[in-house]
């Protein structure tokens, strides 16, 4: 399967470490799930490696709904990565 586009968003310290609030990228077709996307992103550079470092708790949403590592991705999805929420 060929690559497909995803709209990525980063919030709070993930945004600061990656150095951008978001980006649209083409990911390899073999990436099927959110967990696989996270592993792939963590190898894109030092900022990504820092943002997705092991032991850091990172949450995510797909198309504005909280998601898990097993969530299956589709072309054009909006995928947001962020720390555990701290509102209220």
């Amino acid at each position: 399967m060929s690559g497909y586009p995803l709209h990525l968003l980063y919030f709070a310290w993930l945004r600061e470490r990656i150095g951008a609030g978001g980006e649209t990228i083409a990911v390899p077709g073999e990436i099927a799930t959110l967990g696989e996307l996270r592993d792939w992103l963590s190898q894109r550079g030092p900022g990504y490696a820092s943002a997705f470092a092991a032991g850091k708790t990172v949450r995510a949403a797909v198309n504005q709904v909280f998601a898990t590592p097993e969530t299956v991705l589709h072309p054009g999805d909006e995928v947001a990565f962020f720390p555990p929420v701290t509102g209220g």
């Binding site: 919030f11 708790t57 504005q64 962020f82 720390p83 555990p84 929420v85 701290t86 509102g87 209220g88």
Partner: protein
């Protein structure tokens, strides 16, 4: 249907309360929670708190939490207003109002709403200290525990 707002501007508690009560006589109690920026954190003086959020998701996430409150209690009105941006110590951050015919439901729903808001709405707080340092607020286990007591 709850009134949900995410905004930088201050809100007016009296006006929001009046809007919930306007034109009705079936409300017997109105629970209110007002979250305020504290001036010290762990003994360190705070200069400001900055709230970041996920605009495309925030209002829908709060509306889902409010819908759950309306499913659990017979609410006659519900308002949630959450501020974003840079706030100084002493400034209100969040307002939760829940109206019901009796106090038990009003108070329980108010407590539920703020507990779930803290763990299920996409906001992130960054603290700026008087000494020049900055840090993102870590999620608290106590908040998770408070939210979890409403599950099951």
């Amino acid at each position: 249907m709850a009134r949900v707002k995410v905004q930088e501007a201050p809100f007016d508690i009296a006006a929001e309360t009046a809007a919930l009560l306007a034109g009705r006589q079936d409300i017997g109690g109105l629970g209110c929670f007002l979250g305020v920026v504290r001036g010290t954190v762990g003994g360190r003086a705070l200069r400001a708190m900055t709230l970041e959020h996920y605009p495309a998701m925030t209002e829908a996430a709060i509306a889902a939490i409010a819908a759950e409150a309306e499913r659990r209690w017979d609410l006659l009105g519900c308002t949630v207003i959450h501020r974003t941006g840079r706030l100084a110590p002493g400034e209100p951050i969040v307002l939760v109002l829940a109206a019901a015919s009796h106090r038990t439901a009003a108070l329980a729903a108010t407590s539920f709403l703020i507990d779930w808001l803290k763990t299920r709405a996409p906001f992130w707080k960054k603290e700026s200290y008087a000494d020049g340092g900055e840090a993102w607020v870590e999620a608290h286990a106590a908040d998770d525990a408070a939210a979890a007591r409403w599950e099951g």
